[in-house]
Every structure is written in C-alpha cells, then in structure tokens.
Symmetry: C2
Subunit: 225 residues, 2 copies
C-alpha cells in the first residue's frame, strides 16, 4: 500500500481530500498545523476526522503569528456577510502569507522521511476565496521545486502533489465526500468560531459551505450559532 | 532603503551572506530557526552576529524533530573525520529533509508581510556537503514557485532569492567576509558542539571551515575543544 501525506485542516475540503486519498488505496498520514490560527478548534476536528477514517494524524506547531499580516492569525476582524459573487474577485484579508507553501514544505519533509511519494492538498480553484496559492500553476511550480529539493528526488524518486478538488465546485466536493462516507458534522470550516466551537455562519468559509449544502437541497450538519 | 530577509543560522556562510546583503544597501531582517537541532548553540551565535551588524533578528520555533530522519535532529551520530575529498560525493546523514524549502517558505511569508522583495540564503554549491537543496537549479525552481505563491506576486511584486556564495569556495567566502568586517569568532559552524559551545573540529562543517582558514594561512578564531 503506497503511503501519502494528506494535509488535513479539519475543514470540509481537506476532509473530503482525505476520503478521496483513502479511496484511491493510499495508506494516509494526515498532517495538521497549530499555526496560531484563531479557529484552532479546527484541530480537534482534524483529530476526529482522522480517527473516523482510521488514519495516523500528527499536528506540527509553528508560529505564523510572529509573521503577522492576516485576519486568521492577527487581531484583524474576519470579514462577514460578503456576497458569494464577490468572493474570488480579490484576495481577502484572511489570506495567510505563504501558508500553503509552508504547509507543503513540511509535508514534503515528512513524505521524504516516511517513504511517501504522494502529497494530497484540498485546494480548489472554483468557488474559492481568491488565494494565489490555490491555483494550478502554483501547485505545478511547487511540485517541480519539490523534485529538486530532496535527497529522495536526487536518487530518482518522484513526488506528486495531488489536488483532487481543484476543478470541483463546493457542491461537487460535498457530493463526492458524502459518497465516500465523510461526516461533515465533524468538520469545521468557519474562520471565526471563537470563543466556542460553533460556526459563525457569516464568514466567507461558512457562506460558501452553507450555499453549497443549500444548492444540494441538504442541511449542513455542522453546528452554527 | 529596500528591505531583505536574510536566513541566518549563525554559521560562517549565513553570517557572510548577511554582511554581503548589508553591504549591498539592504535593510536586513535576519530570520533564524529553533528546529530541534542538536547544535542549538548556533542560535546564540545568530543573535550575536545580528547585533554586531546592527540588524533586527527573529527566531521562529518549529519542530523538525517530529519529522525525524537526520543526524542533525534525531539520535543518529554525526559523522566525524571524513576526508574533504569525500564530501559532496553523496548526500550525508546530516541532510535534513526539506530544510531549506521550509526555511525559505517562512522567509517568503515574512518578506511578503514586511514588504521585502529580496531573500538572501547562504548556500554554496562548491565545497558543500552534497545537499540537494543547495543547488542552483533548486534555488531557481523555488524562486519561480515563490512568485506564484503570494498575493504580492499576483499584484506584480517580484521576489528574488539571492545566493551570493553559491559559486564561491570556502576560502573565498572567508576572504569576502573578513573584508566586510565579519567576526568569525562569533560564528558557530559545528554540527556537534554539545554539551558545551566548543566546536568538535571533526564533523564535515568543522573540517571544511578549518581547511579553508588553513588554506588562507589564517587561524580560525572559533573555539574548538
């Protein structure tokens, strides 16, 4: 069984990505980050999701707060009630500088150590929030760099970055996850759930998610305040 | 004065790189990592070096030990007394998986937040220890990826990864540093200085350094045991 490292935030997209990686026959190693995010409750979701799917999960602590510059890690308000049509037009303040690059770099290191050659990342370029590090051209450039970065690469191994959701809508993502047994009640997407675990229902992540469930004629099983 | 992020380990190469960046007119922000390295004494050197050159310095804590797989972070003995001619022929056990990729990713994030568009890294491809993430083709691939990864890049900024030492010998590096006022007595290169601050004199890093000072007819001012 080939191994794969799966970046797992505990949100809807990464959880669906984990289910897809498992369904493709990989022994999955789920990697999460405590990076000073205001929505750290997602890490409990990541652990619950990994357990539900029977995969090993590790949380690496890094301090992105010391870098600053994002509403997800600094004392900047999370935007609320933005129309869906506005999302993706410009890069929002919830963008975290170099986040996916940092996360993928750790995934690459862990993949090299564990013998995994496949890395799964739940970015998507449709229905997304406009983050530059969710675009296919970025992913291709990272993969190319990764294959020059490692001892394993020099010795002939080839790393592949899989982004199975990249061309899917949120509705398609939910439909795929439900077919693979994902329990979306365990996932946390909200950017601003503090102080409790309840989702706000008003940030971009909540609005995209609620819109997609509504479009499917289903109720989102996550708990909203 | 344009800003630059300089990766500063506190060793000979990164310290020389900092002096070069300062001499080129950059306001330098020095970035160091506490990554579980057995030679954590280098972090004190990094702080002393930054102070000596009058630049701001930050240390980010990350846990590379949880990834394992290297003599620099795991309980694997550091190789000693290897002939200089053997170095660079194969990738040694002191290789840390994805280390430069992780460090450059944080540097990219900090550069974006602080408005820096230049990142300096003290790798060199001659007299080096055979690490894949010290090669020019790797650096070029990282730079290309970096320019797709960020909001600043989307908005037209261009990040440049500078590797001023990449084609220099260790002798040339020391000569350049001395001309720029580097005090090599403050730097720590040794991979295995534990338990005290004294360098071992026998690991690859010590042997390359001692050989270069000897070749210049100078005494290495670092303290050896």
């Amino acid at each position: 069984m080939p191994r794969a490292v799966v970046l797992l935030s505990g949100g809807m997209d990464s959880t669906t990505t984990l289910a897809i990686a498992v369904s493709r026959g990989f022994e999955c190693l789920a990697l999460s980050f405590a990076y000073g995010q205001r929505h750290a409750v997602e890490l409990e979701a990541a652990r619950a999701v990994a357990k539900h799917h029977g995969v090993r999960q590790e949380t690496v602590t890094i301090d992105l707060r010391s870098l600053g510059g994002s509403a997800l890690t600094a004392d900047i308000p999370v935007p609320k009630d933005r129309p869906l049509a506005e999302m993706g037009k410009e890069i929002p303040i919830t963008y975290v500088p170099a986040r996916n690059t940092i996360f993928l770099s750790f995934a690459l290191g862990w993949a090299e150590v564990t013998g995994a050659r496949d890395i799964f990342l739940g970015v998507n370029a449709l229905d997304y929030s406009g983050y530059p590090d969710c675009r296919p051209e970025y992913i291709a450039a990272f993969e190319r760099m990764a294959n020059l970065a490692t001892k394993a690469g020099v010795e002939g191994a080839r790393f592949t970055i899989h982004t199975p959701l990249i061309a899917m809508t949120k509705k398609e993502i939910i439909a795929a996850g439900l077919a693979l047994g994902v329990d979306y009640g365990r996932t946390v997407s909200c950017y601003d759930p503090a102080p409790g675990p309840l989702a706000c229902g008003r940030c971009d992540a909540c609005r995209l998610r609620l819109g997609a469930f509504a479009g499917l004629g289903k109720k989102d099983p996550a708990a909203y305040r």
